[in-house]
Symmetry: D2
Subunit: 357 residues, 4 copies
C-alpha cells in the first residue's frame, strides 16, 4: 500500500475549490500536488494558498504528469469524456464529478474503456461523484432497506429544493440533468435496480422562477422491479437547501433529511410571535460536507489499496441515460422508457448499484 | 336559536356507534334521541346504553319523525341517496358520512335537490363528513396557505396509510373510493380549486396484501390552476394509521401529521437496542378524534343557528366524480379527466371549497 | 342521573370569561345559568352574550340560588375560602380554580369541611382546577409511569415559561405561588407521592424582568420516596408559553410538551436565512385549551353521576403547603421542609394523588 | 509549517485504540509512529495492524524519542502528571485525555509548568481532551450564545446518561469524576465563566445500579456570574448514551443533543403496536465520533502551525477542582465552594474558556 496518494484536481470552480480545500486540509494519506484550469489566473491563485501545490492551464498535462497518482475531475461535464479517457490511458484512478458526461453514448464509451482496463488489470479506475452514497443518513437508509427486516422496498418520495438558481441562462432541462440526476442515483442505490421509465410533469410554475422556466417539476420513476419513485425538484424555493427521502417498505418506512436534525431553539421572530426551530442549510456544501469528506477519503483509501469503491462508470452511464429520457419527457409530458445497453454485452459485468465498502 | 338540537343517527356500524357516543357524551346543545339500523338488535343494544334514546329498524321513519330535528347518516354509501333526499324532503339538516353516494349522477341529484332547498329557504341542508377540514392541523394549514404569506400553493404530497384491511372482500377499487377520496377533498380544500384529472399508478404490490389487491397505490391529481398533487395510499402498511400532508408554496412549505406530535420516550426495545420515539395511532378514530368532535359540534351549532358550515353537497359530488375517474384510471393506467357539470348550470352557485366558518 | 347540570360561574376575569365561553358553547349536559362578579357591569356584559344567562354582583347569592346546581370559582384566591365553604354549606359541587386558598390553614379548613360532607353524604364536593391532569400529554405520561413498564420513577425536570408578566405589581413570590404551584401538582400527580421539601434558588435574573424581580427561578423538590424534581420557572422569557416535563424512570424516560407538536414549515425568516419550525403558543389558554375542555366536561359528568374526579381539596391543600414552603425558601435560599398534617388525623382518608377516572 | 506531525499514542485501552485508528486512518498531516503501554503484548498487537508503527512498554521512552513530534495521552489519569510533565520537559505538544490529573494540586503543577513553557517559548503545549468543545452541536450552541443575539445566558440543564457501567468496582464518586466532569467543562465553555460552587444531590437510586451506588445523581453548579446549571447524570439508564444540553438565555433557549437527529422510521414493534422513532447511540464513541475527529485534526493542525487551540491546562485544572468539590458534596449533601487559585498569581494569564479557533 502506498503511503500517500498524490492528487491533482482539474477544475477550480466552486466544486473544485471545495475539493482542493478538502484534500489539502482534511483527507488522510493524500497530498494535493497540482490544480489545472483553463483559467490559469484562478488556478494559480488557488494553488498559492497551499505549500507545494503547482498550477497549470492544461488538464491533460496534469493528468499525465508523473507527480500525479490520481485525479479529481471537477471540470464542466462536456470535457469529462476526454479527461476521463486520458486518465484511463494513463492508468490513473479518477474521481469524476457528476454528470459523468452529457449524453449516454459518451458515458457508455467510458464504461467500455473502464471495463477494458479492469479486464487487463483486475481493477476499474473510474469513480463517479454521487456523494450521497457516502452521506451517513443515506448510507444508513440503504443499510436498513438492504437488511431486509422491513421487507421489500415499494416506494420512494424524494424532495430536492434549492433556494434559487442565479444563472441567467438557466433552462428547465438543467433541473433534470443537474438536480434530478442525484435522485436518479438515490433511487438506483436504494432499490438496487435500474430505472426503466421516467415521466416529468410540469406543474404551474412558481412566479419566482425566471420566465419560461418550469419550476418546480414532479418526476416519476418506475423501477425494474415495479417500484415507483415520486420526486419533487424545486430550485427556486426561496428557503434553502432541503433534501429529503422517504422510503416505504412492506413493514415500515424511513425518512431521512428532516430539517430537525440537531439543535432547535425557541426565540422571538418577526411580529412578536415566538418560534421554535432551526436554520435550513444554505447549500449542498453545508448539507453534504461530511458526505464529500467521506467520499474523498474512501476514494483515497481505495487508491492506496488498489481497490475500488463507490459509484462506477456504469452508475454514471445509467444516471445519464435516465436524465436523457427525463429531458425527453419534460418536452413531451409522456412517460419515456430508459434505453440502457444490456450489461451482458459488455466485456465484464459490473455490480452497478453496489454500496460503498 | 333553538336551545337543543334533537339528533337521530342512521347506521350503527363502527362510525355510527362512534357518533352515538360522541353525541351522547361530548357535544353541547345536542340531544341524541334515536338510532336506526336494519339490524334492529344491534340498534336496540346501542340505544340501551343511553337514557331516553329509542331505536328503530326503519331509517326513513327516524328521518321523518317529529322528535328528530337533524340527522347523522352513518349508513352504507349505497343508501345515502335515498336517505339524504328524505332528509331534504323533510326539511331536516343532515350530516352525511362520506362518500356522499357511490356515483356522480346520484351525488349530482343531491346537489340539485339541496340547491332547490336553498333557493326556497335560503339555506342548504347537506353537510358531507369530510372531517379533516375540522382537524386543527389541516385547518391551520389551510389558514396558512390561504393567508398568502407563502405565495401561491404549487404542490401537495399526501401520505395515507392503514395498518391493514381485514375485509376478505377487499378490492383495489376500495382504496380509491374509500381512502383516496379523503385526499381528494384535502386537495380541493387546500387549493380551493377543482381536480381536473387523475392518474392512479400501480406499483408492484406488497406481499402482505391479499392476492390481486394493488396496494400501495400512487395517485396524481392535476388541479384546475395547474398545481400537482402526489398521493401515496397504502392500506396494509402493517404499522398503523399515518396521515400526512406536505404543501409546497412559492415561499415555503408546511408539513402536518408528523408522527412526532406529543410525547416521545427513550426505552429499551427489542434486541437490547435503545430506542427513542412514540406510538403511531392505531386507526382514524384515534388520529381524528378531535376533528370528529369539532365537526359534529360545528354542525350542531350551525343547525341551531340556521346556517351551514363545512363541506357541501357539491364537495361530496366533486369528490365522487374524482373517485370515479380514479377508478377508471386504476383500470387503464392512463390519466383520466374529471367530468364535472358546470356549476353555473345549477340553480345557484355554491362556494364549493369554502373553509369552515 | 340528571339530564343537565345548571352551572354558575363566579369571577369574570380572563379565566372566568374563558370558562363562561366553554360552558356556553362546548360542554355537553351543562347549562350556564348565571355569572357573578363584584364588577357588576362586566358581569352583565358577559352574561348578555348568552341567552338566558343572568348576572349578579353577589357571589354568595349565586352559590345559594336554587337555579344553580354546581359552581365554577374563577374568583381571586383570597375569596376562595368563603366561597368554597358556602358551596359546601349549600351542598353544591364546586370546581375551584387554583390556588385553593392563599395559605395552608385556610386550605386545611376546606379539606376538613369537605371530609365532613363526604362522611355525611358519601361524596366530596370540591374539585381543584389543576387542569394539567386532564391534558392528554400529562395524562398519558401518568399512565405510562403508573403502568410500571419503565420501573420506578426517579426524577422529573419541569420547564415553565411565560413570555412576560405585564403586571406592574409583580413580585418574585408570585412565581412560586402562581406558576410553580402547577409543577408542584405535576410532581405529586406523576410520582403519586407528597413533596417533603422544597428549595428555591435565585439565579442572576434576566435584565428583562422588572427591577427586583428574581426571574428565572430554579426550584428543587424532594419527594416522599426520595425522588428529585428540578424545575425552571421563567416568566419573562420573551418567547411564549412553553411547558415541558421530562420524567426519568429506571428503564426509560418520557418527554412531553415538546414545541414540535403538529405542523412545521420551512420559510424565509429574517436576514434571508431559511428556517424550519413552528410557532410557540402565546399563553396557557392556547396550550391547555383541550385540557380545560376535558377538565370541565369530566367535572360536569361527575356532577351528573353523583361521583367525583380530579384533584381534591387535599391536592389543593398540599400544593398550597408546598408553595408556602417555597416562598420561605425563596427568601432564605435554604431547603425548607413541607409541613402537612397527618392525613390519618382527618376524619376520612383521601387518595390525594388519584388520577382522573 | 511542518509537512507531517509524527504522533505517539500512550495507552492502548478503548480510548487509546480509538485514537490509534483515528490517527492512522482519518487525520490529515499526521503520521502515527509509535504506541506505548505497560501491557506490551497489547501494544504490540495494536501496532501490528499499521505499517511502520512501533510499540514500546515504556511511555517515557516514547515521549522522549526523536521520531515522535507530539503525544496523545490515553493512559489512566493517575499517570498523567508524570507523562504530561515529561512532554513539557521534552518540548512536545500533548493532547491529554480527561481528567488532566486526579487532584487539583497535581493539575495546578501542570498549569504552572505549561505557563513556564509558554513564557519561555510563546506557546503552551498542553491541550486537554474535552472533545465536546469540537462537537458541531456544542460548538454551534457556544457560537449562538456568544453571539449575543439571545442576550445573557441564564441557565443550563444538562442530561448525561449511559446505558450501564459494567465495572464491578464502580463507586458513586466515579459519576462525579468521570461523567459529571464533562458537564463541568460544558458549563465553563458555554458561560465563559468559572464554576464557584457545586452541590450533588442523591435521589433514591435506581434498583438497577449496584448496591450502594448512588445513581442517578442531580448536581447544581453556580457560575461566577450567578447563572445556575442543573445536571442529571445517570449511568445505569438501561437505554443508551444520551447527552443533551438546554441553554436558557434572556431572549430564547437552545436545545442540543435531541435523540431525533437524522432518520426516523415507523415500524411494528413489540405487541403489535406501531412505533415511530430511531435508535439511541450505544456509547460515547458513536455519539461523539465527529467531535473526536475534529478535535484531533485541530490539534494536529495547531501542532503544525506552532499555535494552540482547545481546552488548556487551566481548563483541566478548573474541571478537576470542581470535581473535587463535587465529590465532597456527594459525601456531605451540602453546597461546596470551588477552590481555585487566583489566575493572576500565575506567571501568565490564560484565557481559560476560549473556544476552539
Amino acid at each position: 500500500m502506498s503511503a500517500v496518494v498524490r492528487v491533482g484536481v482539474v477544475g477550480v470552480g466552486i466544486m473544485g475549490a471545495d475539493h482542493v480545500e478538502r484534500l489539502a486540509g482534511r483527507i488522510a494519506h493524500a497530498e494535493l500536488v497540482a490544480v489545472a484550469d483553463p483559467d490559469e489566473v484562478r488556478a494559480k491563485e488557488l494553488a498559492s494558498h497551499h505549500d507545494g501545490v503547482r498550477s497549470t492551464g492544461d488538464a491533460l498535462e496534469l493528468i499525465t504528469s508523473d507527480d500525479v497518482d490520481a485525479v479529481v475531475l471537477a471540470s464542466p461535464g462536456f470535457v469529462h469524456e476526454e479527461q476521463v479517457l486520458a486518465c484511463l490511458a494513463a492508468g490513473k484512478p479518477v474521481l469524476c464529478e457528476k454528470p459523468l458526461t452529457m449524453d449516454s453514448e459518451s458515458s457508455l464509451r467510458i464504461v467500455r474503456a473502464d471495463r477494458e482496463v479492469e479486464a487487463a488489470t483486475g481493477r476499474p479506475l473510474v469513480q463517479v461523484g454521487f456523494m450521497r452514497r457516502f452521506d451517513p443518513e443515506y448510507a444508513r437508509l440503504r443499510s436498513v432497506l438492504a437488511g431486509g427486516s422491513l421487507g421489500r422496498t415499494l416506494l420512494l418520495h424524494n424532495v430536492h429544493r434549492n433556494a434559487s438558481v442565479p444563472n441567467p441562462d438557466f433552462r428547465s432541462e438543467m433541473i433534470v440533468r443537474d438536480s434530478l440526476v442525484h435522485e436518479v442515483d438515490v433511487a438506483r442505490f436504494l432499490f438496487g435496480e435500474e430505472v426503466v421509465s421516467v415521466q416529468v410533469l410540469s406543474p404551474a410554475p412558481t412566479s419566482l422562477a425566471a420566465a419560461g422556466v418550469i419550476d418546480p417539476q414532479v418526476a416519476l420513476f418506475t423501477m425494474a422491479g415495479g417500484g415507483i419513485v415520486t420526486n419533487e425538484v424545486f430550485v427556486n424555493s426561496q428557503v434553502g437547501y432541503e433534501v429529503r427521502c422517504e422510503a416505504v417498505a412492506e413493514r415500515g418506512s424511513v425518512v431521512i433529511g428532516r430539517p430537525s436534525s440537531g439543535a432547535y431553539s425557541t426565540a422571538l421572530a418577526m411580529d412578536g410571535v415566538g418560534q421554535w426551530g432551526g436554520t435550513v442549510p444554505a447549500d449542498y456544501r453545508e448539507r453534504f460536507a461530511t458526505a464529500y469528506d467521506l467520499e474523498v477519503q474512501a476514494w483515497v483509501d481505495s487508491v492506496r489499496a488498489g481497490t475500488s469503491v463507490g459509484p462506477t462508470a456504469w452508475d454514471g452511464y445509467a444516471a445519464t441515460a435516465v436524465s436523457t429520457a427525463g429531458m425527453a419527457s419534460l418536452a413531451s409530458g409522456e412517460r419515456v422508457p430508459v434505453d440502457l445497453v444490456d450489461p451482458l454485452t459488455l466485456s465484464q459485468n459490473a455490480s452497478s448499484t453496489k454500496e460503498p465498502s
